[in-house]
């Protein structure tokens, strides 16, 4: 799993730097386009992903204490945050599409929509992984001595959070 996570981080890192260096040639365009973003939605999404990561930490702690059902509850809390993140993202993307903004509008929106959608798909995959782990935890499939699956799912989810921690200031905050 760690090789997979590192490969994902590398790809996101390349996209982040492509955005940052593309901006050096179009600062005014990037700054003007950034003003059209819903920063509040981005901030709420940051709170949601950070909180979901914390809930996953709690889930791992519970399974270490052999509390399988409690582990599942914390994972459900994390997935609720993840689901809300996805819903907010869909609203955000929908508003842009309604405003006639697409990837071909300009370079900024190409990165905003491309990076946003790429990260969105990772959150979806993370939800699928957490869902499978939750189901197994609910059925008592993990114990204090055997919880590798919970740790693996947690590592992937934290990676999704880590990427957003950079993506949010890069696209929504810095100008």
């Amino acid at each position: 799993m760690w090789f997979f996570i590192l490969a994902e981080l590398l790809v996101f890192g390349v996209f982040f730097l492509a955005y940052a260096f593309a901006r050096t040639r179009n600062v005014e365009l990037f700054n003007a386009s950034q003003l059209e973003l819903d920063q509040l939605s981005g901030a709420i999404n940051t709170v949601l992903l950070i909180s979901s990561s914390y809930f996953v930490v709690r889930a791992v702690d519970q399974i270490r204490h052999d509390r399988s059902r409690s582990c599942a509850y914390w994972l459900i809390a994390a997935m609720t945050c993840g689901g809300t993140f996805l819903a907010l993202k869909l609203v955000e993307f929908g508003a842009k599409i309604e405003a006639g903004i697409s990837m071909s509008t300009n370079t900024f929106f190409m990165f905003y929509l491309g990076l946003g959608f790429f990260h969105f798909m990772h959150v979806v995959l993370g939800m699928v992984i957490l869902g499978a782990v939750t189901l197994k935890a609910w059925k008592g499939g993990y114990s204090a001595t055997s919880y590798g699956g919970v740790e693996t799912g947690a590592a992937y989810w934290h990676m999704v959070d880590l990427v957003w921690i950079i993506l949010f200031p890069l696209i929504y905050v810095l100008h």
């Binding site: 901006r23 050096t24 920063q39 940051t46 950070i50 930490v57 880590l162 921690i165 950079i166 810095l174």
Partner: protein
């Protein structure tokens, strides 16, 4: 252990609020660059070391992920600084 995790979660939320607050304040682009990137670095380190529990993990995983964070955030800072000068 969970008390520490709760504290770290609150720190992460507070740093997010600081970054958003800085971007809303009437400060120059240059003035917010370093503090926002610094909060990003600290947040990233908390997630890597504490949430991912890589602190104390077998080498080289922690250093690779931390190295990724520092290089990416550092180069973003360089690119934004270059754009401002």
């Amino acid at each position: 252990m969970m008390k520490a995790a709760t504290f770290q979660w609150l720190i992460l939320l507070a740093m997010t609020a600081v970054a958003v607050g800085l971007s809303q304040a009437s400060l120059s682009d240059n003035a917010i660059l370093a503090p926002v990137l610094l909060t990003t670095l600290v947040k990233g380190r908390i997630v890597i070391d504490r949430f991912m529990a890589l602190q104390g993990a077998i080498a080289p995983w922690r250093w690779i992920v931390l190295g990724w964070l520092v290089v990416v955030v550092g180069l973003i800072g360089f690119a934004f600084h270059m754009a401002q000068t």
